[in-house]
Subunit: 195 residues, 2 copies
DNA sequence: TTATCTACTTAACAGTGTTAACCTTGTTTA
DNA sequence: TAAACAAGGTTAACACTGTTAAGTAGATAA
């Protein structure tokens, strides 16, 4: 295994276990039996390393979603499955999920924006599904791309509230998730008989 | 003005202008013409100072929402206004908004959880409105508290995607917001004629 | 053999949060 | 009046942080 890979593995491990704050260059290097400066031979700086981790995390999430796709099902069913999978993945790998939203482009000015564009390819996956649904079934889809982002945003919101421990202790988490999914999906269904 | 207030003002200014990363104890102290250690006479540590800022930010957001309440309007109208106000506030004061979600309780173990409970009082404001709506009008409200959190989560998701610059450049921001609000509100309305 | 390239190291810079110990000042108490 | 005390600040230091410039050992190529 190359040192580059080892750095990625070790830093991911630290990041997931102890969070970003504890992920220091010297600590990573130490666990690779190497000096901190060696990391700079493989990554431009800490942001660069972080970005590599972000890309990996997004890829993992994307894979989790792709695995669950089933074109034989109706679009609304697929959306529900996607929603559940998204939330489930995020709650199962909270630290890894949060990496995705950890950094904003403007805070990494050194970084080419195209890197962040890759990140968006996952949205387009969603967009395709929604678009197809809009054509074939009764989904309320003005612009599939916007709808994809809307869905994504709402899912992220739900996850975010839970992960940030902002949920009231009186509310059972499962019930919250159920109701949220219910609400979110409802937004996509066309009312059969508009008043 | 007491030093404590001055510290709060200065650090908020730095936080809003340069972000959390640039907000260092020595920098804050310097602008107050004081040594860094003096801050520790008024705040337990940096987290404590941050928490004070979080509380202020939440209070601001809460005030913005309260100002816009209008019981003479229908509940669904009120929800729409609240949604718009929430998003508008967040986009107008992005740094301040993000402070609210910056820290998780578990990352501030020194901190009493009751502090974070205060934070939640704003949710309850929303919950009340939704509950009243559920009783009087056709709002789909199983549990008003859960509905409040669901609404909150979805709004935060929308804001989060925009602030994190994750929105596709092909999507006009206004259009995204409109569609998102549309989707979110739809989740609360009871279908008149269920199939 | 000499030169070059690769992968690493050492040493250092400038910055961070935080603490212990000290000093001044004004107020309270004997 | 003298002594004790507390409030609000200071200096110096510790143990970290990301990052860079310069140096070094070892393999490879001319």
């Amino acid at each position: 295994m190359s040192l580059r890979e080892e750095i990625l593995n070790v830093s991911r491990e630290i990041l997931i276990k102890d969070g970003f704050g504890k992920m220091s260059m010297r600590k990573i290097a130490g666990r690779c039996d190497v000096t901190a400066t060696s990391i700079y031979l493989h990554f431009k700086n800490k942001d660069d390393l972080l970005l590599a981790l972000i890309e990996e995390s997004i890829e993992h999430l994307k894979q989790a979603l792709i695995e669950v796709l089933d074109p034989s099902k109706s679009m609304i069913e697929q959306l529900e499955i996607l929603a559940r999978t998204y939330i489930e993945y995020a709650l199962k790998h909270p630290q890894e999920y949060e990496v995705i939203y950890m950094v904003r482009p403007e805070e990494m000015p050194k970084y080419p924006k195209e890197k962040f564009r890759d990140v968006r390819s996952t949205y387009e996956l969603l967009a395709e599904i929604i678009q197809t649904g809009g054509e074939n079934e009764s989904l309320d889809v003005k612009s599939s791309l916007i709808s994809a982002y809307t869905l994504w945003a709402q899912l992220h919101g739900v996850v975010s509230v839970i992960l940030n421990k902002r949920l009231d202790t009186r509310i059972p988490q499962d019930q919250f998730i159920e109701q949220a999914i219910n609400h979110i999906l409802k937004g996509f269904v066309i009312e059969k008989t508009p008043a």
